[in-house]
Structure formats: structure tokens, C-alpha cells
């Protein structure tokens, strides 16, 4: 009994030391080059049900390249590759993927393996929720969701980049969720910035993945202070 207590205490101290030494990785991602213009989603505007939801608004456009005036690129998934550490997805807060005005919000996001993804229907029209994973072990599903129906719950057990969710009733509705087997990832906001918190010291490869602009990687070293890493993706 005494021995067990000692082991537990040692592990706790080691873990807190590790956490104490952990640092954040922050940075900004920009896009070089001129992306193709986004297309208006006329099918949404012309749909008898979804069209009513955007009646007084501008026709929504595709969301492939969300670029700021200084090239800040949103929806880039930044992650550490090959980092030792286990998924804490089962204990993590569920991730919400909402259907608003016949579009998925957010368009790009990331979760951990075994983390709950709750898909909500905030629209007064019905959708079908159809994740289409490509990695073996992650199951494809196709579930109907009526207006105001309870949230649908999905979890994925294997890591997979840019796993697509789609609605086949409204074929312009799709979103991407990347699944990692660790908690060290982030998605850039509209200002192109990201933060990955509590990264333990070590040498890592940082990956920047944008669905259209592609992938770049950077070698980094995390010590006991925060690290700033900027990246540039290019559209040719």
C-alpha cells in the first residue's frame, strides 16, 4: 500500500513538472498568391426551403479560401506530427457542428479521437448528416435530422485529416473535421492566428494543412517558454 502511494505521488509530481514546463505554440498563417474567386451558392438561394432563410441576405458563397486583406488565411489546421501522448478526447468537451441557414458552422474544425461531435440542426428544414470517413476504423453513417431534433452524436476512433460531413438533401452543405489522437492542434481564425496550448518540451514537426492550399511543415523546438511560428501557404 505504501509502495503504491509512493508511485502515485511520484507520477503526480512528474506530471505537474511536465505541465509546468509545457509551453504554447502560437503563430500566424498567410496565403501567398491569388486564390480563385469563390462561387455564389445559387442552389441554396434557389432552394424553396433554404432560400427563405437567406432571402434578404447576399447569396452565400463557397468558403474555400477565407483570406484577410493582409493575406491572413483562416481554416488552416495546425498540428504537431508524431507527438507522443494520448488522446484525451473521451474526457474532452463535445465539439458542436451546427447547421445554420443550410450551411455547416464551422466549416473547418478539429477534434480528438473518441471526442463527441454533436451535430445540431438549427434550421427549420430537415437535413441528413452524412460523415464520409476514408480511414478504416472510422465508420460512415447517414442519419436524418428533423428540425429541432436532438443533436446527433458521432465519434471517430482513428486519426483522419479533413473528414467530410455532408448533407445529401442539400448537396452544397459540407464541412470538414480533422481527427487527431492527441490534443496538440488548432485551427486558424479569420485573422490567420492559432495557438496550441501546453505542448511538452521537445523537437517536433509542425504541420499546416489547408484543404485547398495544401500542406507545409516546419521543424520546431519547444523548451520552457512559448514559441512563435509563422507559416505561408501558396496558391499557384
Amino acid at each position: 500500500m505504501k509502495k503504491k502511494t509512493w508511485i502515485l505521488a511520484t507520477l503526480t509530481v512528474a506530471a505537474s513538472l511536465q505541465l509546468g514546463m509545457a509551453a504554447d505554440i502560437t503563430g500566424k498563417v498567410t496565403l501567398k498568391g491569388t486564390p480563385p474567386p469563390e462561387k455564389p451558392i445559387d442552389a441554396l438561394k434557389n432552394d424553396p426551403n433554404c432560400g427563405k432563410l437567406v432571402k434578404d441576405k447576399e447569396v452565400p458563397k463557397t468558403r474555400f479560401y477565407l483570406v484577410g486583406d493582409k493575406g491572413q488565411l483562416a481554416d488552416v489546421i495546425v498540428s504537431i506530427k508524431g507527438i507522443p501522448g494520448k488522446s484525451t478526447g473521451a474526457q474532452a468537451k463535445p465539439h458542436l457542428l451546427d447547421q445554420v441557414n443550410c450551411e455547416y458552422v464551422p466549416y473547418v474544425s478539429a477534434v480528438q479521437t473518441d471526442q463527441k461531435i454533436l451535430v445540431r440542426n438549427s434550421d427549420p428544414v430537415f437535413h441528413n448528416v452524412h460523415p464520409t470517413p476514408k480511414v478504416q476504423g472510422n465508420n460512415e453513417a447517414n442519419k436524418a435530422q428533423m428540425p429541432k431534433a436532438p443533436d446527433l452524436e458521432f465519434t471517430f476512433t482513428k486519426p483522419e485529416e479533413l473528414l467530410r460531413f455532408k448533407c445529401d438533401v442539400h448537396p452544397w452543405m459540407f464541412a470538414y473535421v480533422s481527427v487527431f489522437d492527441h490534443p496538440y492542434f488548432s485551427v486558424t481564425g479569420t485573422d490567420g492566428t492559432f495557438t496550441i496550448q501546453n505542448v511538452p518540451p521537445g523537437k517536433y514537426t509542425l504541420e499546416f494543412n489547408h484543404r485547398k492550399a495544401g500542406v507545409v511543415t516546419k521543424e520546431i523546438e519547444v523548451k520552457d517558454s512559448n514559441v512563435t511560428v509563422d507559416a505561408e501557404l501558396e496558391v499557384k
Binding site: 480563385p36 432552394d47 430537415f126 452524412h130 436524418a144 455532408k166 445529401d168 448537396p171 485547398k212
Partner: protein, 369 residues
């Protein structure tokens, strides 16, 4: 239309529709992709019913008994379902309705002699094919297998050809058509068969392209990414994907898909030449007024239309209506080729056979004298 609109999975369940028995699915919910997908199921059911009648009609008087006993069984089954499984009342009511139609129909069912064996067999093949087609479509939805969609699309084309052949064989025109009356000196029958085979191969390629769900792998025509032969290196494919903005949930394109579309284009050119040769040879050998000459001209017209529709499909970025028309004209081209080949097999024969037929015709009057 379902695949053209990218809504093949808009109804997530099968054989039900959003939990309803498909015949009780409220019209108010036939919206968006559901409209196309559910309409496919409804039209498919109507086709099954029609083929069921087609297959059972030649089997009189047996089919009268089938209708009577089948109708009774359905009535009892429907009543049992309604009574014992209230939640399944829609299924029970459906069985009752079908039984209520089938049972009285047995009393007015024709009392003629059974049809010839070949006709009965063709009817059974058609029935098995259409049921298999329905099950394939359902499994494609429930098993999430795009590959099944390719078979489903291809079988549909073959089924269409088969039904058209049945209609031809049942026509009075076919039954009075003289057999082997014209000499085939250049092997016209082989030309027709080869051209039809190429079209069938093209339809398989087309179905494979459509069920990749990647949209247009090459976005320009007649060139391919500005070249006669597109760059298919990984860098080039990445660049194509970077500059591709689709409003539908398509996958990224791959070098394989670009190759597939190039094969489709090359095969289209081969088919064009093959059918053109068929027209030219038929007119040279049989004259302008021969039915085969007229039919091959119609065939050529369909192929020209098909090439044009293929080009417009690309120029309109795979507009759903144009893509659907492209598939439909493809089916008509296959059907026309199949009918021409079949017709030629009956009308044309080798030179030696014509000689023996003429000799027999010459010998017959003298024998009767």
C-alpha cells in the same frame, strides 16, 4: 438525375424512406435531394410492377393461380401486420392494398394459351434483373458502397436494352421479317457488334467517372488543362485542386480520374469513327433505302448528339440536366446499337447461306408442281 445532382444518399434508409413505408412518405417532404432520390424509388417500384405483369402474363393459366393465391396471402399478411404490429401499419396497409388489387385481377386475367418458352424465359430474366437492380440500389445506400453504384448504373443500361429487345421480338414486324435474306459480304454484323461493344465499354467508364463523386476531373474541352494531354504529375494535380472551386461536396480529383476522363474522350472518338464506318459500309452494301441504313443513320445522329452533350457537360461545369441528358443519350445509343446488331443477325447472312436459301426458294416451286 440522382447522381447528376449528387444526392444519391439523400434518403438514408432503405427500403423505407425516413422511417416511412416509401409509399406513405409525405409529399411535403419531397424536397431538395430527397425529391430526386425518392422519385427514383417510386419510379423504380412502378417499373418492378410493370415487369412483374410482363413476366407473369405469358405464363397463363399458371399466373392466374399465382395472382389468386398470392393476392390472398398478401391480404392475410396485411391484416396480420395491421393487427399484430400496429407500428408497422403502413406496411400492413400496403400489403392489403396490393392483395386487394391482385386477388380480383385473377378473375379478369387473360385465359389464352401460354406464350412460347423463349418469351416466358425472357420475362423471368427481366423480372430477376429488375429486382436485382432494386436491391443493388438499396444496398448501395445502406452499405455506403460507391462501387455498387457503378454496377447499378451499368445494369440499368443493360436492362433497358433487354426490355427494348423484348419489345422488338414481340412486334409483328419482327415476326414477319424474312430471315437471312441479304448477303453480308463485308462482315457488317461484326462492325455493328464491335461498335455496340465500344459503347457499352464507354458506358461503364462513364458510370465509373460519375460514381467517383469528384465532379469534372478535367474542366476544359477540347483541350485538357490547356494541353492535348494533361500533366498528371502530383504537383500538377495539386495545382488543379487548388484552383478548383465547386459548390457541391465533391472529392479532390486524382491523376487516376484525369486518366479516366482522357480514356472516355479517346473512346468517344473511337465510337464516332466506328459508327461512321458502320453507316458508310451499310449504305454501300445495302443501299440508302434499307432499314439498316436508316437505323445506322439514326445511330450516327445519336452519337453526334452525345459528343455534343459531352462537350456541353464540361462547358457548363457538369450542369445536372445536361449530364443527365448525356447519360440518357448514351443509353439510347447502346439500345440502338443493340437493336441494329440483333436485326442484322436476322436479316443478314453469309454469302454461302444466301446461295443455299435462294436454291431452296428456287427448288420449292418446282417441288410443289
Amino acid at each position: 438525375m440522382v447522381t447528376s445532382h449528387g444526392v444519391g444518399m439523400a434518403v438514408p434508409d432503405w427500403p423505407n424512406t425516413y422511417g416511412y413505408n416509401m409509399f406513405f412518405f409525405p409529399v411535403s417532404k419531397w424536397v431538395g435531394g430527397v425529391f430526386y432520390e425518392h422519385s427514383l424509388g417510386a419510379v423504380g417500384s412502378a417499373v418492378v410492377l410493370r415487369v412483374l405483369i410482363l413476366a407473369s402474363r405469358p405464363h397463363v393459366p399458371k399466373s392466374r393461380r399465382w395472382l389468386k393465391s398470392g393476392g390472398l396471402i398478401l391480404l392475410v399478411a396485411g391484416a396480420l401486420v395491421c393487427a399484430l404490429a400496429r407500428a408497422k401499419w403502413q406496411d400492413g396497409l400496403f400489403l392489403l392494398l396490393v392483395g386487394a388489387v391482385a386477388f380480383p385481377a385473377s378473375f379478369i386475367w387473360p385465359k389464352s394459351e401460354p406464350a412460347p418458352k423463349w418469351m416466358r424465359r425472357m420475362g423471368i430474366i427481366a423480372l430477376v434483373a429488375v429486382i436485382f437492380q432494386g436491391v443493388l440500389g438499396g444496398l448501395r445506400v445502406t452499405m455506403f458502397k460507391d462501387e455498387l453504384g457503378i454496377f447499378h448504373g451499368t445494369l440499368a443500361q443493360l436492362f433497358f436494352l433487354f426490355i427494348c429487345l423484348m419489345a422488338l421480338f414481340l412486334s409483328r414486324w419482327w415476326q414477319t421479317l424474312p430471315q437471312g435474306a441479304v448477303t453480308d459480304r463485308v462482315g457488317l454484323r461484326w462492325f455493328y457488334f464491335a461498335a455496340t461493344g465500344l459503347i457499352f465499354l464507354q458506358l461503364i467508364l462513364g458510370a465509373t467517372m460519375r460514381h467517383q463523386h469528384a465532379g469534372l476531373a478535367i474542366s476544359d474541352f477540347p483541350l485538357a488543362y490547356g494541353e492535348l494531354w494533361p500533366d498528371m504529375s502530383s504537383e500538377a494535380v495539386a495545382k488543379y485542386n487548388q484552383n478548383r472551386v465547386e459548390t457541391t461536396a465533391y472529392y479532390e480529383i486524382t491523376a487516376f480520374q484525369i486518366g479516366l476522363q482522357m480514356a472516355h474522350r479517346i473512346l468517344a472518338a473511337l465510337i464516332f469513327v466506328a459508327v461512321l464506318v458502320c453507316v458508310w459500309l451499310t449504305r454501300r452494301e445495302l443501299g440508302w433505302q434499307n432499314p439498316l441504313s436508316k437505323l445506322t443513320t439514326l445511330w450516327m445522329t445519336l452519337i453526334v448528339t452525345q459528343v455534343f452533350l459531352g462537350a456541353v457537360t464540361i462547358w457548363t461545369n457538369k450542369s445536372a440536366d445536361i449530364a443527365t441528358a448525356h447519360v440518357a443519350v448514351g443509353a439510347l445509343s447502346l439500345m440502338t446499337g443493340g437493336l441494329i446488331t440483333t436485326l442484322s443477325l436476322r436479316r443478314l447472312c453469309n454469302a454461302s447461306k444466301t446461295y443455299s436459301l435462294q436454291a431452296a426458294a428456287f427448288a420449292q416451286p418446282s417441288a410443289s408442281k
